[in-house]
């Protein structure tokens, strides 16, 4: 705790844009933002963000009516390989915004809320890659990873077990509906359902 507020202090000192000081306010206890990014690849140093999807959780509700779903303009054409993965074609990027505007909208949406995601580290690294040059800081928000929460609950049942942390496996174990279409927003919504359910379940099968 000490350490993290210390770190936050240094982060705050590095913030280049005063509009975003709200990022360092104490997070509201029962509000979260679940987000997911679609990228051109899996290398957070090289690849680009194509789309960001995010929903807020407040208490027991997922506020899908306030969802954020943005597409980012690309400097070069999206490669064949990555289109196969995220199914976002170049023509789907009409109405897309610049990455700078995207990051700002994301931050205004998220504010100081705790971030939730599936393998969140990657998505956070993706955001940071753009945010650091823009604002001088990385995302300072608290973070919770559903795969980690799931692992902790599951490992207590099978201590020596090999835990399958695939997205679909977690959905099945938690008996959640699978939304066929994988885009950033749908994945964020499914992750939000996982999170709510994990918070309320005492034991897993």
């Amino acid at each position: 705790m000490m350490f993290s507020s210390f770190k936050n202090y240094w982060q705050k000192k590095g913030l280049k844009d005063e509009r975003f000081t709200f990022l360092f306010d104490d997070p509201p206890p029962d509000e979260f933002v679940v987000f997911d990014t679609e990228t051109t690849g899996l290398d957070s140093k090289k690849d680009n963000i194509v789309s960001i999807g995010a929903v807020k959780i407040k208490g027991n509700k997922i506020l899908t009516n306030e969802a954020l779903h943005i597409y980012i303009k690309q400097e070069s054409l999206i490669s064949q390989e990555s289109i196969k993965v995220h199914r976002i074609r170049n023509c789907d990027l009409e109405g897309a915004i610049t990455i700078e505007e995207g990051i700002e909208r994301f931050l205004y949406f998220t504010r100081n809320r705790t971030l939730v995601g599936y393998y969140l580290e990657f998505d956070v690294a993706m955001i940071n890659r753009y945010m650091k040059p823009m604002l001088g800081i990385n995302l300072p928000n608290k973070q919770q990873d559903v795969s980690a929460i799931y692992y902790d609950k599951k490992i207590s049942l099978i201590p020596q077990g090999n835990i399958d942390l695939r997205f679909d496996t977690i959905l099945d174990t938690l008996a959640l509906p699978r939304l066929q279409c994988h885009d950033a927003l749908n994945d964020a919504i499914m992750t939000a359902m996982m999170y709510l359910k994990l918070q309320h379940s005492h034991s897993l099968r």
Binding site: I62, T64, L176, C181, K197
Partner: protein, 608 residues
Amino acid sequence: MMELLKNLQAYPPFSLLDIEAIKEFEYAGQIAYYPSETILVEVGHAFEMLYIIIKGRVEAYHDDELINVYDNHDSFGGIEHLKQHPSNERYIVSEELICYEIPKHIFLAVCEKNHAFRDYFITSLVDRADLLKEKQEYASMSDLMIARLEKNLLHDVCIVEYKTNIKEALEKMEAQKVSALLVRNHEGYGIVTDTNLRQYILHKDEQEIKTIGQIQTNPIITIQEGELLFNVLLLMTQHSIKHLPVLNDKSEPIGILELIDLVSFFSNQTHLITVQIESATTLEATIEASKRVMVMIGALHSRGVKSRYIAKLVSEINKKIYTKLFYFIVPKEWHEYCALILLGSEGRGEQILRTDQDNAFIFADGFVPNDVEKISLSFIEALDAIGFPRCEGNVMVINPKWRQHVAEYIELFDIWVEHSTPNYLIDMAIFFDSICVAGKQSLHTDLREVLIYKVQQYPILIRHFAKSIENFDSALGLFSQFLTLHKEHKNEIDIKKTALFPMIHGIRALALEQGIGATNTYERIKELNNNGFLSREDAQDMIEALEVINTLRLHTQLKQYNSKKPISNYISLVELGKMERDLLKDALKTVAHFRKIVSYHFQLSMVG
């Protein structure tokens, strides 16, 4: 648009909305999570939301009584919003709930613009009332089926001594306005009806006939007071009689039941058909009369008679048809040395519509049936003419395998038992479900006992036999949602594979193991309950589940038949009302529970 809303749009009433309306929901709706036991709405409180279940289950209670259950894709709260009415029930989450919530004012605004959508909620209220009414009518129908023989149905008895002069007896009959006379003999009673009088008039000059005792029918068929009317009907159709003396518990006659009165309870078609078949003197007349069975089934079903009773009646009539054909077609020399048996579902007496020809001959050892080829063929052709489809598995007397001598059948049993390949196990199953309808009964009875004995020598064999209940997956998923089929059978389930077969076969395996003689599945369940294998509750649940499954199946098949479509076992869930769907769901749950019992009992997980 969110995928979630696309999913929503696949089901009524949301399928009635255009994209604009769905978007309004998208801008206002939220996903909510509620743990089990959460009370969503209390009695007397107004709904804040329209709830649409994504996953989970909600139960509605009124004074501790369960009124309704809502599952995936169901919605609730709509009617109350439209009627501006507080909730009459308490809504409780019974299985962890993830639902989509749409605020009341948005729902009402969308209703205002989309009348078909609004009407769905209002008419579904009417439908619900209709369903309820239908259910009550159905209940009173089933009351009819369980009605018992009571005195108010009976005509007074008119009894005369056997020594009474015929004229005197007839005068008494006329005075008392009865259509049948009971004749008291030294031992027991005889009866005199129009038939006897006709015989008397025809033959009175040839023989010396003076007393009523000389023209009576004796012994007579009687029945006890309090018997189920349905059984009475069966008895009268079986024997083709119009007058039935009814006795009290001291075996004294208390009245005469006339068929015409019974007929006012049931369709007289059933009787008509049996009489026509019975009295047919040519093969052609038999075939003509038999064709009318379909009409009768439709009439009985539309009156709400339970499918198992229809099946019983139909199999009774089918037996008569087979018997009649046997005596018309099969030469007299065969009768003492040959048994005609029905196998499989016909043997169980459970076929209703598609009465496939499943039949076989058993010949006594040493008997040489002449012209067997030709006779078998004309037998099958007569059945073709009536409209019985041929058996796809070729279980028919035209197949040499199914017309053999006793010793040859026993050799066959040995092969079945020894090799127990899937095909042999199927043969075993259908033979185990066989009954004899004509010819020398004992040939069949003995042979079937041999089979049961042989099978019981190999306990492992019965386990292999039972294994095939695991061949088809249940139509219910882990969370009690229907698992429907795809492509041309979208939103349908195969009721035979997923429900009927596991039930019938599981029961058959248990019956075989326990050496139960009955072939009918309902009877077998009762026997399994009597010998303590099944608890009373389980047996009751299973009979009800079987009834629901068979009724829905019959209902669908009649529809297919009437619209001249091929008859299949696919049931469309979209065409079922919520109540029927709920009933079906409960039935499938019972089937799943029973599968567990069977698979545990035979330790099927260990059977390869």
